[in-house]
């Protein structure tokens, strides 16, 4: 597969389309929006389902608890905002009103990661997976592309209880095989390989599908279900390769790499391990996110460096 030939589509566009399609069939689907309707492509939803589109304005805390209250009346509620605001500003409200009360609220955190390049550090949410992974009862998902998004949405909507879905801002390559389905707690083997298990979530993984990586025998696993994590598939692969590389557009602290390293140590397996992520820094502005990936050691060049390092380690 050559990245130049890969089709691009926005994951948040796919979110909006899938949500609309779902809402046509299911009158129980509600949106509580936090003043970002156009940015989440929710104009069509708001126009068609007036009484099911609740606009709280720029008030993340109120919106999270309103969503919980609506859910308590039996609705399936999507709480929509940017990840840097929700679940960031309203974390304690999500903890008490949504999770402690076990309400059926699906938190949509858009514009996550360094991919929101030009917006700068305030908007480049790099801590959301850590915040949501630590929350009792919260499930955490990050689709790799628009195709997977359209498969994640109905599944998550159908499951009861709190969930978080992380979305990036730009259009990103379509990677997800159309014949695969999404199951909570299951990962996807995107390529089979012998030498290195590569784990990650979201479109950052698309970098691995260029010709530069063809010379390596990589087992690339899409961990779009970050919590619950598919420990069985991950450990089975690491048992075979003995080398693990985790890549994420997120802080090292509290990210997928933390979850996986814990998993490996607890299993008793021996594995070489490299975690590529943002290391205790804030992001910054750039014209496109490739420049930021280069700066923070997440670019194809950095990934190849990590692969070579893993292969050379005894």
């Amino acid at each position: 597969m050559n990245s130049k030939n890969i089709e691009n589509k926005s994951i948040r566009q796919a979110f909006s389309e899938s949500l609309f399609a779902l809402a046509v069939k299911n009158p129980n689907i509600y949106v509580v929006d936090i003043g970002l309707r156009p940015s989440l492509y929710l104009d069509k939803f708001a126009a068609r389902f007036k009484s099911r589109f609740i606009e709280s304005g720029i008030a993340e805390s109120n919106a999270a608890a309103v969503a919980a209250g609506l859910a308590a009346s039996g609705k399936t509620v999507f709480l929509t905002s940017f990840a840097c605001f929700s679940p960031a500003l309203n974390w304690a409200v999500i903890k008490q009103s949504i999770c402690y009360n076990f309400q059926n609220v699906k938190i949509i955190g858009s514009h996550a990661g360094l991919m929101s390049a030009d917006l700068g550090a305030s908007h480049q949410m790099l801590e959301d997976v850590a915040l949501m992974r630590s929350m009792p009862g919260m499930e955490v998902f990050a689709p790799i592309d628009a195709v997977e998004m359209s498969k994640v949405l109905p599944v998550v909507a159908h499951s009861s209880g709190p969930a978080y879905i992380r979305l990036p801002r730009p259009s990103t390559p379509i990677i997800f095989p159309k014949n695969l389905s999404f199951t909570i707690g299951k990962s996807h083997l995107l390529t089979q390989g012998q030498d290195i298990t590569v784990l990650g979530y979201g479109p950052i993984l698309s970098q691995l599908f260029s010709d530069d990586f063809k010379k390596f025998s990589l087992e690339i696993i899409n961990c779009s279900s970050i919590k619950p994590l598919d420990s069985e598939t991950i450990l089975k692969s690491i048992k075979k390769t003995g080398r693990c590389l985790v890549i994420e557009d997120h802080q090292k602290n509290g990210g997928l790499g933390d979850a996986v390293s814990n998993l490996i140590l607890s299993s008793g397996l021996k594995s070489k391990f490299i975690h590529l992520a943002v290391d205790n820094s804030f992001g910054q502005s750039a014209k496109n996110y490739f420049d930021l990936y280069h700066h923070f050691g997440l670019s194809p060049l950095a990934i190849i460096g990590a692969i070579k390092s893993l292969l050379s380690k005894k």
């Binding site: 509600y30 509580v32 609740i54 709280s56 304005g57 008030a59 805390s61 109120n62 919106a63 999270a64 608890a65 309103v66 969503a67 919980a68 209250g69 609506l70 859910a71 308590a72 009346s73 039996g74 609705k75 304690a92 409200v93 903890k95 008490q96 009103s97 402690y100 009360n101 076990f102």
Partner: protein, 266 residues
């Protein structure tokens, strides 16, 4: 204003005495509890659950100020939601009656403790169930929280006539008087400016409580606020108007006995 002697003639008045004694017993037994606000809010809850105006199998009650749970627990026990003897398990390991509200307690619809969230939850619930009333209890100190004002604006926007917020205004919070810590000044005027209908009452007077609840219930377009002026520690002379009795830890025997003696004569 109805005279105090007339207030004592209200059929619910004996409950104001017996449930205050229950609050004291459970907090003394646990060696912990927010006694000041429980004694200021208990008459509000007695009226809410016993006036016959609401049926909380269908209508909703949200206690936003979760630390006031002792006053809700005694009322729920009085409503036979669980045995009265269970009150003595309050805040103990494995009890259904936690130190702040959770969903294990029969009759509790919202688990709280972190202030400022319950009114928003009530807004969502009232929006989702328009055929019933949602009643929320907040406190004046809780209005320090910005989220409360987000919810007040929200309820106005959505014309939530089926939403009632009762504010237990005892004028004190953990560290002092609300006037010193963050003055609310004209709270009623603020609610009115935000588009609510407001009634200010004596929150220990069952006649006034009942009539304010009736009026709030009849509002169809405007969310209704009842500002209940109360006294922190009401019924125990040395606890009244003392922020130091916001919460207690291990009541000394003589304090407990004196308080019990006073409440028996309430």
């Amino acid at each position: 204003m109805i005279l105090f002697s007339a207030q004592k003639s209200h059929p619910l008045y004996p409950l104001a005495r017996s449930l205050r004694l229950d609050i004291l017993e459970m907090i003394n037994h646990a060696g912990f509890g927010h006694i000041g606000g429980s004694l200021s809010s208990v008459d509000i809850l007695i009226s809410l659950y016993n006036s016959g105006l609401f049926n909380f199998d269908k209508d909703h009650f949200i206690l936003s100020a979760g630390h006031l749970c002792p006053s809700l627990y005694v009322v729920l026990a009085q409503q036979n939601k669980f045995p009265r003897g269970e009150l003595l398990t309050y805040s103990q390991f494995d009890s259904r009656l936690q130190g702040h509200l959770n969903l294990d307690t029969p009759g509790v619809e919202y688990a709280s403790g972190a202030l400022g969230q319950g009114l928003s939850f009530a807004c969502g619930l009232a929006l989702g169930d328009k055929s019933h009333h949602t009643v929320c209890l907040t406190t004046d100190g809780e209005h320090n929280e910005g989220q409360i004002w987000e919810a007040i604006a929200f309820a106005n926007k959505y014309h939530q006539g089926n939403l009632i917020n009762i504010v237990d205004c005892n004028a004190y919070q953990l560290g002092g008087s609300t006037a010193d810590i963050m003055p609310l000044d004209e709270l009623a005027a603020k609610y009115i400016r935000f588009g609510w209908t407001v009634t200010t009452i004596d929150g220990h007077n069952f006649f006034e409580l009942e009539s304010a609840l009736k009026k709030a219930k009849s509002s169809t377009i405007y969310p209704a606020c009842i500002i209940a002026k109360t006294t922190i520690g009401k019924g125990v002379s040395f606890m009244e108007n003392k922020f130091e009795y916001h919460d207690v830890k291990d009541l000394p025997e003589d304090i407990y006995l004196t308080a019990k003696n006073e409440l028996q004569k309430y």
